[in-house]
Symmetry: C2
Subunit: 215 residues, 2 copies
């Protein structure tokens, strides 16, 4: 079961899913999250929302970035919110008011932990790379000492999270069903196209199966 804190309890509870597996499914289907932090350095606080990669191991989400990144520096000092959203369709109603989107979305709240253990840092980076490209980690050069030093890894517990999903047709008012207006859903989907080989590739290598099989 997911948490039921005040901020993870949904206003429209018919769109809320409450299982841990629902959370994992939304996270594991995505490649980018939107990381929200409060930038407070100057005393004039403002939110920042930054798209970034992530990786999951069990009930921990890993984020990473350059040691110089403002967003992670800010996030490392306080509470953050991580949101992953998949757009599944445009909901076309008979009334402007009931237009909507079909989507799956996960929000995670918490204060991240700066990972300092080198083995966990490496596992976090593996999870991040594998989430972008499953099967890739074992085939590429691993981070060296200099690269590890230039990288911040944060761990965020999935303890406080919520999942929200909308599916299905529009929910027009009963009276509007008499209107001669087409209604339905225009499905939206993310696809992969054929891989583009780096023009600088020196070797005559085929695209690996773990990449082509995603197309």
């Amino acid at each position: 079961m997911l948490s039921t804190t005040e901020r993870t309890t949904q206003r429209k509870s018919n769109r809320a899913l409450t299982g841990r597996e629902d959370l994992y499914a939304v996270l594991d289907a995505g490649m980018i999250c939107h990381l929200g932090v409060i930038h407070d350095a100057s005393g004039d606080a403002f939110p920042m929302v930054v798209p970034t990669g992530y990786g999951r191991i069990g009930d921990t989400l890993y984020l990473h970035g350059s040691s110089a990144a403002r967003s992670l520096r800010a996030g490392g000092e306080g509470q953050i919110c991580v949101t992953v959203t998949h757009l599944d369709g445009v909901v076309l109603a008979r009334s402007a008011f009931h237009h909507s989107l079909n989507y799956r979305s996960a929000m995670i709240y918490g204060t991240p932990r700066l990972v300092t253990d080198e083995a966990e840092r490496m596992e976090g980076l593996r999870a991040l790379t594998e989430n972008l490209a499953p099967g890739q980690w074992d085939t590429v050069r691993k981070p060296n000492r200099k690269e590890m030093a230039a990288t911040i890894v944060l761990a965020l517990s999935l303890e406080e999270a919520s999942v929200k999903v909308r599916t299905g047709p529009p929910e027009d008012d009963a009276a509007d069903h008499a209107l001669p207006v087409w209604a339905g859903v225009l499905p939206v989907r993310q696809v992969f196209d054929a891989p583009v080989t780096d023009p600088a590739l020196r070797h005559d290598l085929p695209v690996p199966d773990h990449i082509t099989h995603r197309i």
Copy 2:
């Protein structure tokens, strides 16, 4: 030209675009943004990142929501950040460190204005609907008084914004080019599938051209 405030000046400036047209292009290509607000009601401030629709008219971005929505109530009282991101590809490098994503992203900072003028509120809602489904507004029932009363419309100036884009192959270290590892980009794209008619549709109506032509 876009703004050059401290928070819109890029750390990796080779990824920054600086034209207003670049900003419009990223916004107009998207259907959802991630809205970042600071939730501060309890004195224990935390960020919230919520996926939501938007519409643009000139240099103003319109957001809307239920009068009951926590995120908009919080956003209406202070600074917000709106981020729109398009994922264009997975960048597969010879080294784990240089894995990346190709993307186009816009971030807008500012304090939104609660729109109270009824004509502007209606224009904002039109822009929101048209951004989801161009051509739709003129074919559907417009919001009535009760629906307008239940809806908050916020206007955010596009004055302080930044655009960041990554394109092209991985940027591996020169020494890694000797490695026998395939490298390149796996392109990612969002597509529309065939419209699904609402099972409750009473009339024998074809899917309108302004919807089918997006597929």
